[in-house]
């Protein structure tokens, strides 16, 4: 009988998958799929695009796993591939449609949970709206940093700009968000 991998650490799953263990890969993918999809949804502003981007990212992750030098850092590494594939998709679509006009992940569920709505519902919808009002590049940089936990250098590479510009954009986004947050109490 096959061993249960659901308790296995990310690093173990990543090492096994790098050596061709498809079951370990599937476990790794299922474990982080929600996060990957939420991240891609924020970056592409579309659930459908997010699903496509995550699918492409998943194949790329499988393909590139043997090159991952730190299996314990696999989650952040996966997120980075998700953002890369998300931007590939957004760029390929841009001529046809203005991404800013696409539906944002506006009102996800969890709102139905009354307890949670009481605790942070106002703050969360405040942040959601404030993010929507941010200029697109500021929103992207903020998402890559705060949601994806990516390094300044990686963000600069993904967006084709300089680290200094990334820092500036992030500083402005943070300033706006912390200022607006005063009203969310």
């Amino acid at each position: 009988m096959a061993v249960d991998l659901s308790d296995a650490a990310d690093a173990v799953l990543a090492s096994r998958a790098a050596e061709g263990d498809e079951r370990a890969f599937e476990q790794l993918l299922r474990r982080h799929l929600g996060l990957m999809t939420a991240y891609a949804t924020r970056l592409t502003s579309s659930r459908a695009d997010a699903n496509d981007a995550v699918q492409e990212a998943s194949i790329a992750i499988w393909r590139e796993l043997p090159t991952l030098s730190e299996p314990a850092a696999v989650r952040g590494w996966m997120m980075r591939i998700v953002s890369r594939k998300s931007f590939d998709l957004v760029r390929s679509r841009r001529p046809a449609s203005d991404v800013d006009e696409l539906e944002l992940p506006s009102e996800p569920g969890g709102r139905d949970d009354p307890e949670r709505a009481v605790v942070t519902g106002d703050a969360m919808s405040g942040l959601r709206q404030a993010l929507r009002r941010l200029p697109e590049t500021q929103r992207q940089v903020w998402t890559l940093r705060e949601v994806g936990g990516e390094s300044y250098a990686d963000i600069a590479e993904t967006l084709g700009t300089s680290v200094t510009a990334v820092r500036g954009l992030l500083a402005r986004a943070r300033e706006t968000l912390t200022r607006e947050m005063e009203a969310w109490r």
Partner: protein, 263 residues
Amino acid sequence: MSDDPTRSSGYDGDESGPTRASSDPAETTPSSAGADATADALAQGLDPDRAVAAGDAVTTADAEAELDAAVDAAPDDGVSLERIADYLDEGRQPYDPLIEDDPSALAQLNALRRLRGVSDQLLSDEVAATPAPAPSWIADVMSRVRLESRSGREIPLTSTHERTTLHITEGAVRGLIREAGDAVDGALVISCAIVGDVAQPDAIVTVDVAISALYGVAVQPLADEVRLAVVRHLEQQTELVVEGVDVTVRDVHQLDDEHDGGL
């Protein structure tokens, strides 16, 4: 505050400090109000040619952002938000009195912490709201994965028919090694390798196996058991001449419910 720090002494302190000294180019060049991309990039250790290219390539919006970054890094009234954010990223270690002892910096730090708390909540809310993937979505990914299976080297097998050659792939043998190791109670295979010229029939090979041991299990007997299991399994399933199996216990793991129960 008894030691009310001035801004200039603040920057001095930062530059001589052990942390993130190189991570904040704007702070190491506090006078760069002109947002000189080349100088900033140099401060980050980039090579000058690339830095110039990057400087040339920036758009008006980027240049504006860089200007803002420089301005943000050298505000009139204390520590920059960016530096506070970096400090927060570092887990507020080592203790920075310029931030911790300054009421307005501390207020900004707390605002950033709160923002991060709301962001984390928003993200976990969105993760929870992500519909479970359609079974066909996973199946689709996995079938594409199988098309790119990592089969590795081909290992010849003796054929009973003169005109056919049989092979087993290295990937399949790795699968057998994992299967054997995993089957030992308390062991989980992390990685394995077949060392030797497996493409030659009857080549002598050694097998390296790294395992994780379940917390509390005696490591030496576990390693021995894994070694035996791998040897036995390979003998039964392959024609490899296995000279030795080296088992390394690389990690110790717990099962999830034991985390909760507290061993």
